[in-house]
Amino acid sequence: MSKTGLIIKREYLTRVRKKSFIIMTILGPIIFAALFAIPIWLATRDSNEVKNITVVDESGLFRGTFEDEKGLHFDYLDATLNEAKTSIKQNGSFGLLYIPDLQLDNPSGITFYSESSAGIELKERIERVLEQKIENMKLEESQIDKATLDALRTNVNLNEISLAGGEEKSANTGIYTGIGYLASFMIYMFIFIYGAQIMRGVLEEKTSRIVEVIISSVKPTQLMIGKTIGIAAVGLTQFIIWIVLTSLIYSVGLSMIGLDAESIAQINQMPSAEGADFSSTQVKIAQASGELGSLNVPLMVGGFLFYFLGGYLLYGAMFAAIGAASDSETDTQQFMAPVSMPLVLGFVVAITAVLKDPNGSTAFWFSMVPFTSPTVMLMRLPFGVPMWELATSMVLLVLGFLLMTWLAGRIYRIGILMHGSKVNYKTIGKWLMMR
């Protein structure tokens, strides 16, 4: 095995065998899935609990309006408000809905009494029923029948078709935004996490003084490149395991709520899916996953890998140089700002300007500059990017990291042997010039 290969192997194995890596790699997707799954699960869960609600209707207008539905049971009571209040305490009703004698024009004074708060959902349900009933009564008063009104109502739904890649596909801004945001965020995190690992690795070798033994066997650049590649491999391993685990959890999750590929296809073919065999949650999830399918997945994954590697190599070189120029973790602080600033800026631009206009000039320029292109381009990618822009951006990124690696190597080879002397930007400038 070549010496660089030995270094890569060591960097990779020592990190992959760490407990923290194993835990994060396995728990990551599970935590992630749980964040999505728990609210859905809670929403779809059938509650067996039934809330009894007593209705006192002094107006007499809403007799029979409230019908029992899932989890709710309504009792009408002919009594005064005070009598009703005492009676609900005795019979254990959840609450008391009091409707005074009211004017249709001004339906005020309707009150819900309960021990514990009704909660937003119940409140909205009751309000909706009351509003509908009052609306209907008003319509009758004005002698408009419901059919006429329905005919008047107009609903426009804008269809989006993406022309990217030469073929028409229905586009969904919401899903695309979500995917772009996620990819952009992951790149941002990965570059920070693994870039910082390079820095810490360099610093460890420098402070533990083993570096002199190593570079009497290999060239400093071999050590730096070996370390960078080894850590990149760790990042990719984690990413691939995440992808596999996530898709596994995703399909298991779908089957758990009663969806398989066939029913998803079926639902997505129905003109109006709200229907017969499927619950509304199932339909929503099926539609979302159908839209996921409209995405150019290979392009997204390929783009992610390319921009992750490119961005990581670009920033990794800078992180390596910082590690070499510092004597301790505290020393690194002074150099961190100029390195992390463009990375943060790129992400901020991605989630603001690019979200607003994925093909605007801000988005374009920031996706060309190598320092910001990884995060910004990933945000743009789901919305479709012209080929030449993508190619230019990629070439610039490659040139960027080659130049940066060369510069960082010059700082690195001198910095790792320097101990105790105060290093500032001027000294770093001198190192760059040294033969």
Binding site: M1, T14, S208, R209, E212, V213, S216, S217, R435
Partner: protein
């Protein structure tokens, strides 16, 4: 260029931005010798070593190993223990040695054998699976020594070898070094503490302020710096000793028992001096006062400084 020198250095110069670390330094290290590279801190020793170990590039001059220009091939036959020592703290002893051995160019199978041999030899076998963090400082030092010599290098370079080691390990290492030499390795000691290596070295080079100021076998150097001075302990007084002998100092040790430092003027042999002494006093001790390397070094450095001052 004959191969009876493991290392030859010609006209080596290295400049840094603010100062010159080495100026026109030439050296020859005979095969099988223990070579002392001596000089005060900041004289340029570490820079010289870093050039030989290919950590730094010289600005001028040439380095030859076994008569061949220094190249990547020679990494395999050089063992280097830097002044600043350290290992990967979280790596296991066995894995760490394997990694370093492979970086030095050893094959995995061979490295495994050597590591086993050395761990056994220095009583570290049961620690092979532990990380460096778990080891005591002394054990860590032994591991570092193994890392330096396990590939049986022809040239072993030890920078300040005893400064970091505790006395027990220092002795152990000394013994191991002597044995390595017997098996054919050449050793370069670099240190600013002359007394620590004086007994070990057979060749010496002194470096001061980036220049070599003295170089040769220990014997030669000492001979050059002999001053024909003798320490005599004797009963009775030396009064009456005249002629070609000068009394530098006389000290009464006990009743009628003296220690006198005398210098023979001209190139008389010790025997001549003794013959002069014997009729006068009862001689209890007679010893030539040979300057230590340290003393030679100090006087040399002082001379240099004077020269600089006059310029």
């Amino acid at each position: 260029m004959k191969n009876d020198h493991i290392l030859e250095v010609h006209g080596l110069t290295k400049r840094y931005a603010a100062h010159t670390a080495l100026q026109d330094v030439s050296l020859r290290v005979p095969r099988g010798s223990i070579f002392g590279l001596l000089g005060p801190n900041g004289a340029g020793k570490t820079t010289l070593i870093r050039i030989i170990t290919q950590i730094l590039m010289q600005d001028e001059g040439e380095v030859f190993i076994n008569g061949e220009p220094l190249s990547q091939e020679h990494i395999r036959i050089i063992g280097y223990l830097p002044e600043e020592r350290g290992l990967y703290k979280k790596m296991k002893v066995g894995e760490q040695l394997m990694y370093l051995a492979q970086l030095r160019g050893l094959k995995e199978k061979e490295a495994r054998q050597r590591i086993r041999h050395w761990l056994d030899r220095l009583n570290l076998t049961q620690w092979a699976g532990k990380t460096i963090e778990d080891l005591s400082k002394g054990m860590g030092q032994k591991v570092q020594f193994i890392a330096t010599v396990m590939h049986e290098p022809q040239l072993i370079i030890l920078d300040e070898p005893f400064s970091g080691f505790d006395p027990v390990n220092a002795n152990l290492i000394k013994d191991e070094i002597m044995q390595l030499r017997e098996r054919g390795s050449s050793i370069i000691f670099s240190t600013h503490r002359m007394e620590s290596v004086e007994e070990l070295c057979d060749h010496i080079a002194l470096i001061n302020k980036s220049r070599k100021i003295l170089d040769g076998t220990k014997r030669e150097i000492k001979d050059q710096h002999r001053s024909n001075t003798f320490i005599v302990e004797h009963k009775g007084s030396l009064i009456g000793l005249g002629g070609e002998v000068e009394v530098l100092q006389e000290k009464l040790l006990e009743d009628n028992y003296y220690q006198t430092i005398v210098r023979a003027i001209g190139a008389q042999s010790p025997n001549y001096l003794l013959q002069r002494l014997l009729p006068l006093v009862e001689v209890h001790r007679f010893e030539e006062k040979i300057p230590s390397i340290n003393e030679i070094f100090i006087s040399k450095v002082k001379d240099e400084d004077k020269e600089v001052a006059y310029v």
